[in-house]
């Protein structure tokens, strides 16, 4: 498994490197000292796993994640920010406290190894999950749990469980990275998750009304309705 270390302190990077020597299946492809360099390296090397420090020059580890298109798996390494990591409310997120306990590292790596949601390795594969930051809270959002994406200006509002977090990207660019087998553009403003469709009703002028499970009713515009019918073969 290809891994990247991101930490601004050289001794901390060397220490982690030494600790990882006991896990030959973890292949270290590089290390970076700040998030700008890290963002580049991640695009370039597409690692499957990040060891990510939180406090770094030029932006935190959280800032890095919000910039990434494809999210590798992440293990945070931090000296004293466990409260920051605990801000991840919903997703259990892995973090290691520095100095790192080798036994805890082994446990974290074992979890990563058997995690079924292996992230996509290639740049053009559809997105699996998003990293979101809303005020002091952060989430890893698995896209298959999102039932609706609504455009709000240059941002996208997600309907995810009871939450409505805002994502700092435009719907048009995000849509290109979504899995077309699972997501469908209903109208100019909304993209729906097909797995959440409860029932579909005919509307006037060839429009369709889709009732989403736990969610609002969404109207499919006339143009998109034709596409929807052929795709769903109804």
């Amino acid at each position: 498994m290809r891994a990247l270390i991101i930490d601004d302190e050289p001794p901390a990077r060397r220490e982690l490197r030494r600790l990882l020597a006991d896990f030959p299946w973890v292949e270290l492809v590089g290390e970076c000292g700040n998030i700008v360099a890290a963002a580049q390296k991640i695009e370039e090397l597409t690692p499957a796993l990040l060891f990510l420090d939180i406090q770094m020059p030029g932006g935190s580890g959280f800032d890095l994640l919000t910039r990434l298109e494809h999210l590798p798996q992440v293990i945070f390494t931090t000296a004293h920010d466990e409260h920051a990591v605990r801000a991840f409310e919903v997703n259990a997120l892995d973090y290691l406290l520095k100095p790192i306990d080798p036994a805890r590292l082994a446990a974290s790596l074992a979890r990563v190894k058997k995690d079924p949601v292996a992230p996509a390795r290639t740049a053009d594969a559809p997105l699996q999950q998003l990293f979101l930051r809303d005020g002091s809270q952060c989430w890893f959002v698995p896209l298959h749990e999102v039932r609706l994406l609504s455009s709000e200006g240059n941002y996208v509002r997600l309907s995810w469980g009871a939450r409505r977090p805002l994502l700092g990207r435009a719907l048009a660019t995000l849509e290109q990275r979504l899995d077309p087998q699972k997501f469908f553009r209903a109208n100019r403003r909304q993209v729906i998750n097909l797995e959440f469709i409860e029932n579909v009703e005919m509307g006037i002028n060839g429009r369709l009304h889709v009732q989403l499970r736990d969610g609002p009713e969404v109207e499919i515009s006339r143009r998109q309705a034709r596409l929807f019918r052929s795709q769903m073969s109804i």
Binding site: E9, P11, A12, N34, P57, G58, A79, K98, P99
Partner: protein, 348 residues
């Protein structure tokens, strides 16, 4: 204790004046006059003492003034009754009704004498009560003022304790992580780092005992602290010291320079991918210790509001210790540079 002094002095002077007036002015026989006056005034003293006991049991000092006036008047007249009766019954004529005109019918004279004596004695008790409550008021006021000042001092000490900077746990755990790394790479360096960390910790833990330390001592600790930070940041952190030799014995609040230096690294050098140079300048001029800490900082500094807490606490601490004679100022007027200036008065 002071009650008895007041009580005896007051009654003593009053009695003496009365005796002198009776003998010298009215020409009364001195032995019997003195005897009766002493007897009656002793009773007066006893009555006022009893009144004091009664008032204390019934908490008169807590009663509001308007109510107290009526109660005081009533008590005065009640206490005046036995004394007026006693005075009226004394065989010495001049004591019975001082200055009573002779134009009243003879059978009315005893009654009038009693009434006059009653008013006289009631007046004496009113005076006594006024003095008593004035004394009580002064004492209560003093006690309140004392409590107030004690409270203020306790509050100030609590504030100082709170403001005193603690070693940042982030620094501590990162330093430990560095040491762990050095143990494998360079054991002698790891040993030196452990010693420095021990010195830093010992100083921080001891800082609670003394408000002020010598600048030399503080600088030594900051030196250890900076060496440890250099191990973490490696070539990203450089330090330049310009310290005048005569500053060593100057007094400085413990951990003050440390707080400023830590702040300069945290919000300045640590935020820069290439790091930078930290400058510490110290000078003693006109009995004022002048410190200056200079560091580069990122151009766009979206500083969270909590970032300045350390410095704000340090500033507040200086204010509590030196009022307006000391100052701490963070100068961000230059782009990409931050300068902290501190002035601490010295009295040798």
């Amino acid at each position: 204790m002071s009650y008895w002094i007041c009580q005896l002095t007051g009654w003593g002077i009053f009695t003496l004046l009365k005796i002198i007036a009776a003998i010298e002015v009215d020409g009364l026989p001195w032995l019997s006059t003195t005897f009766y006056i002493l007897l009656i005034h002793a009773a007066g003293l006893g009555l006022t003492h009893a009144l004091r006991g009664y008032m204390r049991r019934h908490g008169w000092s807590e009663v509001r003034t308007g109510k107290l006036v009526w109660r005081g008047l009533a008590a005065s007249f009640i206490l005046a009754v036995p004394l007026a009766a006693g005075t009226s019954l004394t065989p010495i004529e001049m004591l019975q009704a001082p200055g009573l005109p002779a134009m009243f019918p003879a059978n009315l004279v005893p009654l009038l004498a009693f009434a006059l004596n009653l008013v006289n004695w009631a007046f004496v008790f009113v005076i006594w009560l006024v003095i008593y409550f004035t004394a009580i008021g002064i004492r209560q006021h003093q006690a309140a003022a004392l409590r107030q000042s004690e409270l203020a001092r306790a509050l100030q000490q609590a504030e100082l304790r709170l403001l005193k900077s603690q070693l940042n746990p982030h620094f501590l755990f990162n330093a430990l992580n560095t040491v762990r790394s050095l143990i494998a790479e360079d054991p002698p360096k790891a040993q030196r780092a452990v010693t420095r960390l021990a010195n830093t910790l010992r100083y921080t833990l001891g800082a609670g005992q003394h408000e002020l330390v010598s600048f030399e001592r503080e600088l030594e600790m900051v030196g250890d602290f900076l060496e440890l930070e250099k191990l973490r940041f490696e070539e990203r952190l450089a330090v330049v010291r310009e310290v005048a030799a005569d500053t060593g014995t100057a007094q400085i609040p413990a951990m003050l320079l440390q707080t400023v230096v830590e702040n300069a690294i945290k919000h300045g050098i640590a935020e820069l991918p290439a790091g930078g140079t930290l400058r510490i300048h110290a000078d003693l001029r006109d009995d004022i210790l002048e410190l200056q800490v200079e560091n580069p900082r990122p151009l766009e500094a979206p500083r969270p509001t909590s970032a300045g807490t350390g410095l704000r606490n340090a500033e507040e601490r200086l204010r509590l210790l030196f009022d307006s004679r000391a100052s701490l100022e963070l100068d961000l007027s230059q782009p990409e540079r931050a300068t902290t200036r501190i002035r601490i008065p010295q009295y040798s």
